[in-house]
């Protein structure tokens, strides 16, 4: 007589189910195809929603004519300079606030009281102070980047395991070396979380500032074509912005991977 078998199977197999790579493109491609179909069936007027194919062809024409280049370069300049200044100060001040109890007591309330202000509201003030040129736009981006970076750096420093600081001191580290060799690398993961958050903020501020006060730049271009009701060219601007955001994120991810290989 054979005994009856009750097989035990892995009941949590769904947790490590593998999905093929093409799956991540499905949603995107599907959306674009649907959009194209809607447009080609003339369900909506091209004034309100131009077809993806029309956006791409117009976009190419604008690249060839140099219009994209003329607007992209000033935008890139503003965002790169603003982001660099804002994040550099953010990391520096964050380290100081996290490391020194005095700086923490004095500086943290200041940071937290300015942080909730929507930065774009300060643009008129900056224009008054710094003029309508590049400086006011770069400053507003730097300011917008500064806050998420400073707050993340600060909590990164606070989260460094005290035993590592003890170990460093035991092996002869000076306070400066403790910051440089333990606290800075220890808070890098949190700093990068802040940098990624700030990337989105900086793009938002770039576009807003350019819409309010600029002759050139992608933001100004989008607004300009919106006013003229040339929706296709407006959408080209939006496409450029989304590509800009995507590239920004990818670059940050690459830098993070290079700087934090031990994670």
């Amino acid at each position: 007589m054979t005994k009856q078998r009750q097989m035990i199977t892995n009941r949590v197999a769904f947790l490590d189910k593998k999905v093929p790579i093409y799956a991540s493109f499905l949603g995107l491609v599907g959306l674009i195809v649907l959009w194209e179909i809607i447009c080609s069936l003339n369900l909506v007027s091209p004034l309100f929603l131009p077809a993806p194919s029309a956006i791409v062809t117009t976009g190419w024409e604008m690249v060839v004519s140099g219009e994209i280049y003329e607007n992209l370069v000033p935008s890139l300049y503003r965002i790169v300079v603003g982001y660099a200044i804002g994040s550099a100060f953010g990391v520096l001040i964050g380290l100081v606030l996290g490391f020194s109890k005095w700086a923490d007591a004095i500086g943290t309330p200041v940071v937290y009281s300015i942080y909730p202000i929507p930065k774009i509201a300060l643009l008129p003030l900056f224009i008054l102070w710094l003029g309508i040129g590049e400086l006011s736009k770069v400053t507003i981006i730097a300011l917008g980047v500064f806050f998420p970076v400073v707050i993340n750096t600060f909590s990164g420093v606070k989260n460094v395991d005290p035993i590592l600081i003890k170990a460093a001191v035991t092996f002869g580290s000076s306070p400066f070396n403790v910051v440089r060799k333990v606290i800075l690398p220890g808070s890098l993961p949190m700093i990068f979380a802040g940098l990624k958050l700030a990337a989105g903020t900086s793009l938002l501020l770039l576009v807003s500032a350019e819409m309010i006060a600029a002759q050139n730049g992608i933001g100004a271009m989008v607004l300009h074509y919106g006013n003229l009701m040339i929706t296709t060219k407006l959408m080209v601007g939006v496409l450029v912005l989304s590509l800009l955001g995507l590239t920004f994120n990818r670059v940050l991810q690459w830098v993070e991977y290079k700087l934090i290989p031990w994670k």
């Binding site: 590592l164 003890k166 001191v169 035991t170 092996f171 002869g172 070396n177 060799k181 333990v182 220890g186």
Partner: protein, 256 residues
């Protein structure tokens, strides 16, 4: 050279909220090339004492000093219970940490690091990050990092308590072999009595509430081979004596 711990007393908390006396009337010394083990029940303040000796905590009263160390600052190294390797540094980079801070030349750093990494048996793992290592291997790196600075006093705070029982036994044997090659003055903290008798030249038994020295026991056995048949009886006798000293305190600790 010797290390003197003189009249050390440590209280926690403050007068308003009530003070807790953690350590009281601690007097002993660690001779050159001596392996001293602090043993006691949980809550006896043995880790507190090690932190005071290691300069990571100030005593409320009393002092810790090196005697007969000519014209140099004492050089300490700690092997932590939590291991405390820098996760962003590879095995090699962790081991040279103390040497870097001593401003030792790159060439010498490399020689010493290679020597001690080899001693703890991790030659093939120089470029691995701590995350990639097992618990036992991590603590070997911790030991190599401490040995590399060739300290005047080596402090070990329950270094093997996070390891499983099998790894622990092997690491104890290995530590003894390494210690015999380096002969560093060592202060070792543990709650494991067998471990204490296995490693120590002298065992200092602490009581709790407050942490005081109950007895100092000299282990009169050869350093190597204490667990062999020849010495088994005496070894067990020492362990049992210490257990009798600690037992009451350990039972009290359990009830809290």
């Amino acid at each position: 050279m010797k290390v003197v711990i003189e009249d050390v007393r440590k209280t926690f908390g403050n007068k308003k909220k009530g003070e807790v006396l953690a350590l009281d009337n601690i007097n002993f010394s660690i001779e050159e090339k001596e392996f001293v083990v602090l043993v006691g029940p949980s809550g006896c303040g043995k880790s507190t004492l090690l932190n005071i000796v290691g300069g990571l905590l100030s005593p409320t009263e009393g002092s810790v000093y090196f005697e007969g160390l000519l014209n140099k600052k004492p050089n300490l190294a700690i092997v932590f219970q939590e291991i405390a390797l820098f996760p962003w540094r590879t095995v090699y980079e962790n081991v040279i940490y103390g040497l870097e801070e001593q401003k030792v030349s790159k060439q010498e750093q490399k020689e010493k690091a290679d020597f001690y990494i080899d001693m703890v048996g991790l030659t093939g793992f120089k470029d691995a990050y701590p995350k990639q290592l097992s618990g036992g291997m991590k603590q070997r790196v911790g030991i190599a990092r401490a040995l590399a600075v060739e300290p005047d006093l080596l402090l070990m705070d329950e270094p093997f308590s996070a390891l499983d029982a099998q790894t622990r036994t092997l690491m104890q044997e290995e530590l003894l072999t390494i210690w015999n090659r380096t002969q560093l003055s060592t202060l070792y903290v543990t709650h494991n009595i067998q471990e204490a008798v296995y490693l120590a030249d002298r065992v200092i038994v602490l009581s709790r509430h407050p942490g005081q020295i109950k007895e100092i026991i000299k282990i009169d056995l050869p350093k190597m081979g204490r667990d062999t048949e020849q010495h088994r009886a005496k070894y067990e006798q020492y362990a049992d004596d210490i257990w009798q000293l600690i037992r009451q305190d350990a039972e009290d600790a359990l009830k809290e």
